[in-house]
Amino acid sequence: MAAGFKTVEPLEYYRRFLKENCRPDGRELGEFRATTVNIGSITTADGSALVKLGNTTVICGIKAEFAAPPVDATNKGYIVPDVDLPPLCSARFRPGPPGEEAQAVSQFIADVIENSQIIMKEDLCIVNGKLAWVLYCDIICLDYDGNILDACTFALLAALNNVQLPAVAINEETGLAEVNLKQKTPLNIRKYPVATSFAIFDDTLLIVDPTAEEEDLATGTVTIVTDEEGRLCSVHKPGGSPLTGAKLQDCITRAITRHKEVKQLMDKI
């Protein structure tokens, strides 16, 4: 009976639950799904992390390569993020060139890296004007069940935290770079940005960590990225129903608590 009601009137079905301050999957409105993180599972990558938020699963692999630094900033390296939402993660994606959503998520991740200064690009420079690291951060979604932004941001952070770069010395005679694979150093992570997403229901109710179903029914979404000192790195609200300043403040408070939860998980691994 309940299943039939859900199919015919999904929105009304959700409203009945939300009225009682809970959700069909048993969570409260402000509760995240179980989060798990696994790092270093891919040995061919220089750093990797697998993050699960309930059913949502993303994997991030980081590959480091050499490149010449950009001409306008000779003391900097590059960080190149890319998010892939392949057709295997959900029936809503089709094979072919990256869809709108994948590009939007990629850009969001690029903005988070830029705004939060997660690592200083100067740290990636090996020889000024000659040689620098490029970090290709490829994020692949393996199972899409909503809240992809939080999962991707967390996977990126955990993978960057796992990166071990080999020592590089420049041979004076030949001028070529020599890599010492035995001596590896971790990256200097300056900030720990953590994203927290909310779905807006019926223009007023805020629910945290929406599933794909909830995202489809919601009238809008908000994503807040904070660092470990509670400073905002990004506030992302792509259209949807308008929100009052007070509600946004509530979101920020919740985001700061979420940061602590994520930090605890990060410290454990």
């Binding site: 891919i42 990558a45 590959k63 057709p87």
Partner: protein, 188 residues
């Protein structure tokens, strides 16, 4: 059925595969995850393998998509894909003639080796990929590259077949355990 309807077959289902390798799956970063020549070949092989095993005539005018993604490549990519896809097809409840189990085998210094890893593959010896329907003992796909003396073929195939049967035992156990678990949950 999505995309062009002209591809639809009036008497059976169309099997569509896509094989892609994550950019970080190999030692050297991959530029294109799919669509290069090697991936296209792999896609075709997977499609042929599963067309042979799935009872496509039960679903006329429909399409079955099989997407596989390599996260870390350490040899036997084709075989891992086939074994994973078999389980996924079973999980989807699509009827097949039998499990498809695959294993690679090689031949180094007069010894047949089953399930080559990346180093053994890169060494450049003869290499066989075998996809087997173990119950009926039929070969769905067999591919060999490099030269191998006819006399040695049998022992290499035996090694691959034995490995396929071992894979079958593991897959079958997993499926049975899963079904048992789901059945208990549904029974409650």
């Amino acid at each position: 059925m999505r995309g062009s309807r002209s591809k639809a077959l009036h008497d059976r289902a169309l099997v569509n595969c896509q094989y892609s390798m994550a950019t970080f799956s190999t030692g050297e970063r991959k530029r294109r995850p799919h669509g290069d020549r090697k991936s296209s070949e792999m896609t075709l092989h997977l499609k042929q393998t599963f067309e042979a095993a799935i009872l496509t005539q039960l679903y006329p005018r429909s399409q079955i998509d099989i997407y596989v993604q390599i996260l870390q490549a350490d040899g036997g990519n084709y075989c891992a894909c086939v074994n994973a896809a078999t389980l996924a097809v079973i999980d989807a409840g699509i009827p097949m003639q039998d499990y498809v189990c695959a294993s690679s085998a090689g031949f180094v210094e007069d010894t047949a080796l089953a399930d080559l890893n990346y180093v053994e593959e890169a060494a450049g010896g003869p290499q066989v990929a075998l996809a087997l329907l173990p119950k009926s003992d039929q070969i769905a796909l067999l591919e060999m590259n490099a030269r191998l003396h006819e006399d040695h073929l049998e022992c290499v195939l035996d090694a691959a077949t034995a490995a396929c049967r071992a894979v079958h035992a593991v897959l079958d156990q997993v499926v049975r355990d899963h079904v048992r678990e789901v059945a208990t949950l549904l029974g409650e």
